[in-house]
Amino acid sequence: MIEQSLTARSWLKTLATLERRRLHLAAFLGVLAGVQTVIIVVGLAWLVEQLTVHQQSPSQLVGVLVLLALCVLGRGICQWAQETISLEASLCIRQHARRQMLDKYWSLGPVWLAYQQSGALATQAVENIEALDGFFARFYTQLRIVAMLPLLILLVVVKLDYLVAVFLLLSAPIIPLFMALVGMGAERINRDQFAAVARLSAHFLDRVRGMSTLQLFGRTASAHKDVWWATDDYRRLSMRTLRLAFLSSAVLEFFASVAIAVVAMYVGFGLLGYIEYGPAPSLTLFSGLAVLLLAPEFFQPLRTLSQHYHDRATALGAAESLVTVLNESSIQRSLLNEPDAADDIAVLKNVSVEYASRGRVLGPIDLTVKKGSVIAISGPSGSGKSTLLALLAGFLTPSQGSLQLAQPRYAWLDQQPSLLHGSLADNLRLANPDADRSAMLVALRQAGLKALLDKLPHGLDTLIGERGIGLSGGQAQRLALARIYLSDASLILLDEPTASLDTETEEVVIQALLVWAAQGRTMVMATHHPAAIKAAQRHLEMRNGHLEEMSYET
């Protein structure tokens, strides 16, 4: 394996490194906003003392008021900038991660993709990448703020009253401890909960998917009630577990509340002169009020972090499934060389293909494809025809032997031509993005789609496929034929192009292809069609991964 194997954590870490500057700047701004908050509450305590104890009038305190107003504005700007910058970091990271995924799909090639559900893979590249957002936009920054800000606040509190500082310092490690205790249980519960939700959604979707069957058996009404009961059962079950899960947030709430209460009582009694040890006798309204207001601020970053904790779990879950794809081994296109002779398209020497799961599926075979030749390959399904064509197309690299490919632009056609979600024109551009409309019309006419085109409401701009006009198998195959015409490729690779067509369309498509190839193009096709085999210069038969020359005209 050439690529290093990734884990979810290491991948997230690498991604964060990409936007290190922005993320650190955001964390710095977050700390700066926190510092301004400290100034505001300490300033407030000072103002209060001036107003109530020293009986100053507000007009004598304008300077401090203006300073605090500036801090309020500054804090607003810092918060805004922190949020905006970490958002930007998250956007860039997601864009990068998505490109990495799409590149990976690309390098895994069509053969690997054929064994996957494209819907599930698209979910990976779209939804799962989006799921990384909270981790980078919120959690990552907050984690760094938590490491800094409480410490700064503690320093200020030490200066004001070291006993309160000692109290905060003692309670601080207790919180993570408690949260860890509750959290360990809660994490398992969370996982169970997550699984239960997934099961419940699956139950619901299963019934929706089978709606036709429910209608046929007259069971929609009972399934309807089922849906309600299943969700309600789940509610009763999950309430039992949530009682414990919610304890972790209650613990934080409890500590923040108790801190205020304890500090208030301590400061109050100290100011009354009831406490005579430690720094208590030197308490003033200013220092007392300041430590009271700083106590909740001390816990605030941790509370925010706990609110974002699920962002981390979500991102890890998504990353977990993304790295499994990233760890798949890619096709090594760099191993492909040009053939030595100029009129050779492909030269296979002693080539074989093996899969870990299925063993050897092809070879060893030797084959040279000359420029301008028309080759038909027949053989039972599963004998390796598709693998050979995939090799010629560069979708696979051989496990053993040497493969030389001249890779001109070529046309590819298999049983199910792919339709893009777009207009008829978009689907033709797939073969040649620069083609103009008149060339498209010519190609469509040549492929026998004139009649269809005349019926389409918006001509070339009509949406086709899932979101538009549905095409029959024959029409789709003719569209693929039009693509070949439009591309004017000199090499055509066909993998049983007519297997799903009716006899009439099959005949038309095969004849059209043979005529097209006869104009000096190279064609290799896997087919059972007698006319195609007859028209070919070479006919090869594939049996259990080995080639047999049936006929060869020169």
Binding site: Q79, W80, A122, A202, S212, T231, L271, L272, S487
Partner: protein, 575 residues
């Protein structure tokens, strides 16, 4: 922002139109909603009271302490406020815990209600609409959309209500000492509230409304890249397509960027407005203290309450910026309902049922060619017919018309003289049975799947039909026998087993009309021979249509009276 007033009116009416049916659902649980809101209010109010009372207490202590030092007579009851502080500290913790539990419970109840309602809508869809939904990957969105509406409760309804109540409460509390100032504070907070709810929604409505559509568009492009990868590599057009993906992604991320920036503005405005309000209060309150209108401790109490109030507004910007997203989810769910609902007022006659089709044409909305083109035939009660045709020729459309799950575009479909679309589902399903080409098994036990055919069937009856379908030995070999789960879409079973389970399910019924689409698909030849006898016996006397690709229906051909062929929607006579 070109059409300012019209866009704001349309945002509100669009939101109201989309959300109304769902809010009605929430309103049904009015009491739970009110109690839940009250609990959140209590949590927040306890927090403010804790802070305010502590401020009052400290200041009062300080002033009393100074008085002691100066030798002036002073008294302060420390026990009542001390108890109060402890009480509010505890109340905040307990109220938070109870609130989270209680509201979570309500949300889950609501989820059940929401799913019930959506399912009710889907139940009434016809085959064409269901088929449309099967091909789109929209099904995956369904639960996410329902969850989005579930969030409506905790994010869009509860927080604005609670924060409004807090604003009113705080203003009234201030008015005890400073009625004039309280009016100002209340006014400013109200404006902030309005800005964070309505203003935020207004600013970001279009952006959040687009978000899911953006994601779906991106998803479709990625699916295209994956499915067409062979062609894209061959034609050397990968870069061309990749540019499209990236352009779409850029637009989607840009939209997110704008949305996120609006939320950031909203979030920082909370701190700025409440902070400036606090400083204003210091100024005004300072004057009042200087002129002995209020006592120092009272001022400190009011200041600290104001200091804590920003917590009340924190959930608003994020929630309201995403209003557009909730509206879009509601719109997608609203669009699910059937276009029209026919009266189910016809009743099938008790005796055997004949079938008559008279120039029946059906065209799916998304295709150029009709699926069925002026098809006519007559099949008397108790007769059997074979209809051949390749896939896509119109067989499943014909089956959907006969089972009343599609209404013909033109022409007349009659079963026993009735229009099948007008017969109530419970009666129709008992008299007209269809074995679909694609077997639908549910993620439940084998037994449950069989009982779909007849909920009242005895265990013996289940074993009988399993025996007829040559499945009894296999089921007996399973550790859980009839209780064996079949997996999602019957994935735990082989294709042939699933097919025979579907046939067995049919055998539990007693219908007058039976339509079998490829009865022996995926069943090997020997097994087909075995089960054909039992099937033939069961079919005797019923009106039967067989659909078959190449005409292979095993040993069931003896009774066939008509042989028709379907090709591109047209029916012709064979033999």
């Amino acid at each position: 922002m070109k059409h300012d007033t019209s866009s704001s009116v349309s945002m509100l009416s669009q939101a109201r139109r989309a959300l109304l049916p769902w809010v009605t659902l929430i309103v049904k649980r009015r009491q739970q909603f009110m109690l839940g809101a009250l609990l959140i209010w209590l949590t927040l109010a306890a927090g403010l009271a804790l802070l305010g009372l502590s401020g009052w207490f400290i200041t009062a202590c300080a002033l009393t302490g100074i008085a002691f030092l100066l030798g002036m007579p002073a008294r302060l009851d420390v026990y009542v406020p001390g108890g109060g502080i402890r009480f509010f500290a505890l109340l905040r913790t307990v109220a938070r815990y109870v609130e989270r539990l209680y509201n979570h419970n309500t949300v889950l109840r609501l989820l059940a209600d929401l799913r019930y309602r959506v399912f009710g809508q889907l139940m009434q869809l016809d085959e064409a609409a269901l088929r449309r939904q099967r091909v789109s990957d929209w099904l995956g969105r369904l639960t996410a959309d329902i969850d989005a509406l579930d969030n409506l409760y905790l994010r869009l309804l509860m927080p604005p209500l609670v924060s409004l109540l807090i604003i009113v409460g705080v203003s009234l509390f201030m008015a005890i000492w400073l009625p004039g100032v309280a009016l100002w504070v209340g006014g400013v907070l109200l404006l902030l509230w309005l800005g964070l709810t309505y203003g935020m929604a207004r600013l970001s409505f279009a952006h959040s409304h687009r978000q899911v559509a953006d994601q779906e568009g991106l998803r479709r492009l990625v699916v295209d890249q994956l499915q067409a990868s062979a062609e894209l590599i061959a034609y050397r057009t990968a870069a061309w397509h990749r540019n499209q993906v990236e352009a779409h992604e850029d637009a989607a991320l840009d939209n997110q960027r704008r949305l996120g920036r609006s939320v950031a503005v909203g979030n920082s405005i909370i701190g700025v407005i409440t902070g400036l309000l606090l400083l204003g209060m210091v100024w005004v309150g300072g004057m009042m203290v200087a002129s002995d209108v209020i006592a120092g401790p009272i001022l400190v109490m009011l200041l600290l309450v104001l200091l804590g109030i920003n917590e009340v507004f924190v959930p608003l910007p994020g929630a309201f910026a995403r209003l557009g997203g909730s509206v879009a989810a509601a719109e997608r769910l609203n669009a699910l309902g059937p276009d029209r609902v026919l009266n189910k007022d016809q009743s099938l006659p008790a005796h055997g049922l004949g079938l008559t089709l008279d120039h029946v044409t059906y065209r799916y909305s998304a295709s150029v060619e009709p699926a069925l083109d002026s098809v006519s035939f007559k099949l008397a009660a108790g007769e059997q017919a074979l209809i051949t045709g390749r896939s896509g020729a119109g067989k499943s459309t014909l089956a959907a018309l006969l089972t009343g799950r599609l209404a013909p575009f033109s022409g007349d479909v009659r079963v026993g003289g009735c229009l099948p679309v007008r017969v109530p589902e419970c009666q129709r399903s008992q008299r007209i049975a269809l074995l679909t080409q694609q077997v639908d098994l549910f993620d439940a036990s084998l037994e449950d799947n069989l009982r779909l055919g007849n909920p009242d069937a005895s265990d013996d009856a289940l074993w009988d039909v399993l025996e007829s379908m040559a499945l009894d030995e296999w089921v007996k070999s399973l550790p859980r026998q009839l209780q064996t789960p079949v997996g999602e879409r019957g994935q735990q079973l082989s294709g042939g087993q699933a097919r025979r389970v579907a046939l067995a399910r049919l055998l539990l019924m007693n219908p007058s009309v039976v339509i079998l689409d490829e009865p022996f698909a995926a069943i090997d030849y020997d097994t087909a021979e075995k089960v054909a006898n039992a099937l033939a016996k069961w079919l005797a006397g019923r009106t039967v249509i067989f659909f078959a690709h190449h005409g292979f229906i095993g040993g069931l051909t003896q009774q066939i009276k008509h042989h028709w062929h379907l090709s591109a929607g047209e029916l012709s006579q064979r033999k």
